[in-house]
């Protein structure tokens, strides 16, 4: 294949059936595309260290799913909930899940609620990496979104940690949402 370091060409095609396979390799690629058709199928595969995608749809019925909605549609979502009643000064570190062999878990968000002040976080075990750590001074409902998602490899565990620093016993509820795919 010839190398065209500074090469620009406008493609303007009109027809009833058009198929264009595109394979572009370059250090810096810019590709503006305008499609005007009754029905259109567009498959794009991009492998690059930095990707910027700007897509505008108009006058079409288009479904673009967020990752949360898509994994739920595919039945790949995982939701974990832990509820425990803790006395003052008592903590609870609890495994929600251990990823099985051949799988990889992606945690998208984590939420904690309690009626007393306390400390909460989500841990990746056995490394004890801490995420979403919070020190609340009263009734708490904290929500953490992880972009990109937290990843848990096979054998790693998701652990919810909570400690009641208040003056009375209270329920502490930890919820995590994510999805699991083949590794």
């Amino acid at each position: 294949m010839a190398d065209y370091p500074d090469w620009t060409r406008l493609f303007q095609l009109a027809g009833t059936e058009i198929t264009i396979p595109i394979n572009i390799e370059g250090s810096d690629v810019t590709l503006p595309i305008s499609i005007d058709a009754v029905t259109a199928d567009l498959e794009v595969t991009i492998t690059a260290s930095t990707v910027t995608i700007d897509i505008n749809f108009s006058d079409q019925s288009v479904a673009v799913w967020s990752v949360d909605a898509w994994v739920a549609r595919q039945g790949q979502e995982k939701r974990f909930r832990r509820s425990v009643n803790l006395n003052p000064g008592i903590g609870d570190a609890y495994d929600l899940y251990t990823v099985p062999t051949g799988k990889k878990l992606y945690v998208v968000w984590y939420k904690v609620t309690s009626e007393q002040k306390g400390v909460y976080n989500l841990l990746k075990m056995p490394a004890s990496e801490s995420y979403g750590e919070t020190h609340s001074e009263g009734y708490a409902c904290k929500y953490f979104t992880f972009i990109p998602p937290l990843t848990f490899a096979a054998g790693e565990s998701v652990r919810a940690n909570a400690q009641n620093d208040g003056a009375a016993a209270a329920f502490f509820i930890s919820t995590a949402f994510g999805y699991e795919l083949d590794a």
Binding site: G75, K78, R79, F80, R81, D92, Y94, T98, V99, S157
Partner: protein
């Protein structure tokens, strides 16, 4: 050590939802739903994820609605398409 059906689902990841309700004695009520099986498992577990994990009781139920709700759903369900989902001709009709 032989795992119960509920434990198998928990450790294999065959679920979409799991809930752990801590009990005053340190045990947990574990509810597992979704996944391939379509069943709901409810387990009372001691030392869950621990070395001495023990399932004290386990119940299994399906995720279908109760009969009275199922009857109402059937009443409002759309009529069966006699042509078929793939556009085949109704019985006795031309096979085009």
């Amino acid at each position: 050590m032989s795992l119960t059906p509920g434990q198998c689902r928990l450790y294999s990841g065959d679920f979409n939802y799991v809930s752990y309700d801590g009990q005053p004695d340190g045990t947990d009520i574990v509810t597992i739903a979704g996944g391939k099986s379509g069943q709901v498992h409810r387990m009372h577990v001691r030392d869950l994820w621990g070395e001495h994990e023990e399932v004290l009781t386990e119940e299994e139920g399906d995720s279908n609605p109760p009969p009275h709700v199922a009857a109402r759903l059937a009443e409002v369900a759309p009529p069966v398409d006699v042509v078929g989902a793939h556009g085949g001709a109704p019985e006795g009709g031309p096979d085009v």
